[in-house]
Every structure is written in C-alpha cells, then in structure tokens.
Symmetry: C2
Subunit: 324 residues, 2 copies
C-alpha cells in the first residue's frame, strides 16, 4: 500500500455509518490506499468494507458538544479522536479525517501533534472565492476566546499554508472586521490591526467586511473562532434559504425544467460540504475536520486532499472544481 | 400637516443627493407629511423639492467612519446627526431618518434622546424570516464592545419592541452563538446564557446558530454589535454572490427569460435595503438608521415605518411584503 489514512468514525451527526460509507468510497476510489478506522469495533466490523486493507482501532468513546474536551482527555475514556491522533503521531499515516467535536480536535492536536516550535494549532477552512481562487478562513470555530498574539499566529500559519499549497509568493492577509477602515473593529480586532500592520513579514491588506469574505480580496482571512463560525454559518444559512425559495418558486411557476439545473450549478459552486471542512494548521501531520453533518462524499474529498498534501500536489488536484 | 419627519442628508455613501431624492419621494407619496431636512443648506436648496413643506436646518458637518463619534460631539462642529436629534428631542416630529455613522447615532441618542430610565440605547434590524414573520436582530453594529448587562438590556428592549409592534404576547428571545448547546459560546455568550435563563420575565429559547438566524426560531436575536454586523453582512454577501452567479448562468445558457424573474422574486424576498436598516431602541422618539449605501426607496420605506409607529399600526403596514 502506498499510503495509510486514519478515519475517525465517531462524533458525526449522521452516526458512524455515514463515515463508514465514506471509508468504503475511499477504498473503492483509491486501490493503493489502506485505512486505519477508529471507533466502535463491533459497528465497524458489521460494515461492508474490504477488510484486507483496513486496520481497526477500538475506541468506543466520543466527546459530545456537551462535554468539556479538555476534561475528556483525563476521564479514562478511550476517545476515538484522541486514539486516532495518537496513532497519527507515530508518523506512519499521511493524515487523519474526523467529523468530531472541533474543541476535541484542538485538544488532541495539542497533546499529540505539536511541532518542535510548540505553536498553538488552529482550524482553517478553505473557501472558494468569487475571483476563482481560494481564501483560507482562520480560525473557523475551534479557538473561540483568543488574544491578539493568537490572531497574529493564525495569520502566520495561514500565510505559510497558502504559500506551500497554492504556491502563492506572498499571501495577502485580511482581518475580519465590521468595517474596512482601520478604526473599525472590537477591542481585539483594533489591537490586532496595529500588530499586523507593524509586522513587515505579513502582506497585510487591512480589514475585510463580512459581505466581502468570499470576494477574493485576501488569501488568508483572520478572525477568532466565534466570528469565523458566524462567517461560515451565516453564509450557509442564506444560501440554504435562497435555494429553498428557488425550489418553491420553481414548483409554483412550473419552471422546474429551467430552475433545477441552475440550483445544481449553484450548489456545486458553493459546496458547503467542502466549505465547512477545516484543516488543522501548525501541527506535525495533517488532520482534516469535516462538518458534523458531513456525508460520505466529504470523506472522499478529504482523502483526496490528504493524498495531494503528501504528494506535494496542488491541494485540489483531482477534486471537481467546475469553475476551472 | 399631520406629521413631521426629520431627515438627515449627510453621512450617506451616495452623497446627500441620494437622500434628497428620497425626501422628494416621501413628499410626493405622503401629501400630509412635512419634512425637516438637516445638512448643507446650499445643497438642499438646489434640490427639486416642494419647499412649502420643508424646513431646512443648516448643519454642514458629518462624522465619518474615520472619526471618533464621541469626540465629534465636542469639537465645535455642527454635525447633522446631532442637530437632527436635538430637533427631535423637542417632541414636534414623529421621528428621524439618517444614513450616517452608527456610532454617532448612538452617541447622539444618548445625549439627546434618553428616556427617564436612562436606558442605554441599541440598534435593531428587522429581518424577514423564513416562517413568514420578522425577527429583530439586536444589536446590529452600533455597540461593538459590550458586557453581559448590556446584552440583557438588548433582550429586554427587543422584547418590548416586538410586543408593541407585532402584538406578540411573549416574544421568544434567542442568543446568537456558535452552537445550539448551552455550553457553546465565547466567554460573553456563555455568561449571558446563564443570566437570560435565570430571568423569568424573558421567554428565552436558548442559543441560535448562525445558519438559523432567519429561520424564525425566535422573535428577538441578541448579540453584540460586532457579531450582529457579521450576521447581516455575511448573509448579504452570500446572497449577492449567488445572484451574481445566477445572472452569469442565465447569460451563458441563454435562460434570461426564465431566470431573471426568479432573481427579481428573490431580491424582493431578501430586500437588503430594508434588512440593513436599523431602528434605535430604548429612546424617547424613534430614529431609523438606514444603510450608508441606501437609495431613495429606503428613505420612503423608513418614513412609512415612522408613520405606522406614530399611528400605532403594524410596523410594515403599507410596505410591500410579497410573502403575505
């Protein structure tokens, strides 16, 4: 086998079966890949998989949205995210995929995957922008309460990531705010603005407003995790509302023939399965965090990204981007 | 004349002319309304208006997004927002409309329009929700750095507003967060959650995620002004992106005939001119804050709202809501 990918089956909103369907799709699509599947052994064994290419790690416990992820580390449970990251830390797999709790992903990353520089990791989402490129949103919801130093670190990690993966010489860094002027922002953003502007190694392009996050004005968009979560979810909510209205309209006006293909096109352009996926920055080996609500396609896409990363290809090689 | 409305002509992104076009539309639509127009006398006088129903207040100075609104009060300038609010405080007009700086709106409201209870005012946006009703978003961007007590006050002001205007018995209060569970949120939101849950006079329905802000799960959605700005702007940005894609698609596929009417329908449903307008809560007389980028239609809609308010009608009476 050429590569091994670790897949965590627990913590998904759709149950382990949805993730195992994803694992099956990966095994079928990539004959040279083997999987290490983490979760409840009984459930995994029941699934229809090519077990000759599967290693099972039994870890039946999970961190729910009601748990404190930090405490979960020390409760004597066998938590699948942590088990998977421990396995990843051995350096034998090319990366890990999980749909589990974002907080637990960060806690596990800090415990098992810190670099020698001991950078605090963060979670980036790669969003397709209207210029035909991609913007990395850092942080997308893992680090909720942060200080200026952390925002500064997010900017540097995002820059290095976009430099490496998209071969962008000097990635443009934007700061999410409530206005484009340097005087706009909450206390945290105003302070960060000063620090970013003074850092000569950052190609800082200033504040970006919420209606311009997908406009391609920057390659890396920096914010705290609470705001990053709002960016992704409000855009998604609006898209879902508009598409729902479009379906209603198509039915009432008997225009399905013309409107449904348009809806298909829009859903492909703003694919929230990929949009919502995050990649942990600043750690030894790559971890992709899919949305809790992800389906099997997201697991296959994430595997494709991990393969590209390990082979130093453009991150979206082999992934359908119909804009290209 | 039955009512007087005060219109501030400065601070708009489209210059005083756009606002004056709005004033003209108001005079034409409502023959029983007179206007007090605030701004640069020379510019106002040049505009084609029925001056028999117009009083001009000369106040040529403005607060830009680069100014500190608080300092602007004491710089000896004749700022149009403040001049208008001073006039409003006399109790002769039914309300005021401005497209100026949100911070200045709040500063002026505190100086000229406080109630005897001396409540700190806030800015609400009335958003059409997918259940066919309206949700008040409080605060929409005027109070950026706030504490728990202020969020609590926003909840109470929003509740009283929705009770009075929509005759809702016990408005449902939601708290914007990064997850629906009570454990989710930044430090501020977690603390506010506890306070809201303990207040027996609030019909608190818990945390609301960013993708559910327009789902009609609550009548009042509470958040700080930074987050509220993200809610409005990210939804708007996504809508603009999708509509731009739709126009492109219609052209390439030669489907204009079918797609353009759909776009018209969607733009009416999610009318960002109204969506972006705010109303100041917790002050003596109503002030409507239109978006900086508003056009004349927004001024006419805001005037309609002020008339309904003064006549104790449903706030959207006479305003086209094609969902009804």
């Amino acid at each position: 086998m050429k590569h091994t990918i670790i897949i965590d089956t627990l913590g998904s909103d759709n149950g382990p079966e949805a993730i195992l369907d994803g694992a099956k799709a990966v095994l079928e699509k990539y004959p040279e890949i083997s999987l290490t599947i983490v979760g409840d052994e009984k459930i995994i064994k029941k699934h229809d998989l090519d077990f000759s290419r599967v290693k099972i790690l039994h870890a039946p416990d999970t961190v729910t949205n009601y748990d404190n992820p930090m405490l979960s580390l020390y409760e004597g449970k066998v938590v699948s995210i942590f088990k998977g990251m421990e396995e990843l830390s051995k350096g034998e797999a090319i990366g890990m995929i999980t749909a589990g709790n974002s907080g637990a992903v960060l806690v596990g990353a800090v415990k098992y995957l810190l670099t020698p520089q001991r950078t605090r990791p963060c979670l980036a989402a790669i969003m397709p922008n209207t210029k035909g490129g991609y913007t990395a949103l850092v942080d997308t919801g893992a680090s909720i309460d942060v200080g200026v130093n952390q925002l500064h670190e997010f900017a540097r990690l995002g820059r290095d990531f976009m430099k490496k993966l998209y071969k962008i010489d000097n990635p443009r860094i934007g700061l999410l705010s409530n206005g484009s002027e340097p005087t706009k922002g909450n206390k945290l953003v105003k302070e960060a603005h000063k620090v970013f502007a003074e850092d000569k190694e950052l190609n800082f392009v200033g504040n970006i407003e919420g209606n311009k996050t997908l406009s391609g004005l920057c390659d890396v968009l920096v914010c705290d995790g609470f705001a990053g979560n709002q960016v992704l979810k409000n855009a998604e909510g609006m898209a879902v509302n508009l598409i729902t209205e479009m379906v209603k309209y198509a039915k009432v006006k008997h225009e399905e023939e013309h409107i449904m293909p348009l809806i298909g096109y829009l859903m492909k352009t703003y694919d929230f399965e990929s949009l919502g996926a995050g990649i942990v920055l600043g750690i030894k080996y790559p971890v992709i965090k899919c949305r809790g609500s992800c389906k099997k396609e997201a697991i296959a896409t994430a595997s494709n990204v991990l393969i590209n990363l390990s082979e130093d290809k453009n991150i979206y090689d082999g992934i359908d981007d119909h804009r290209k």
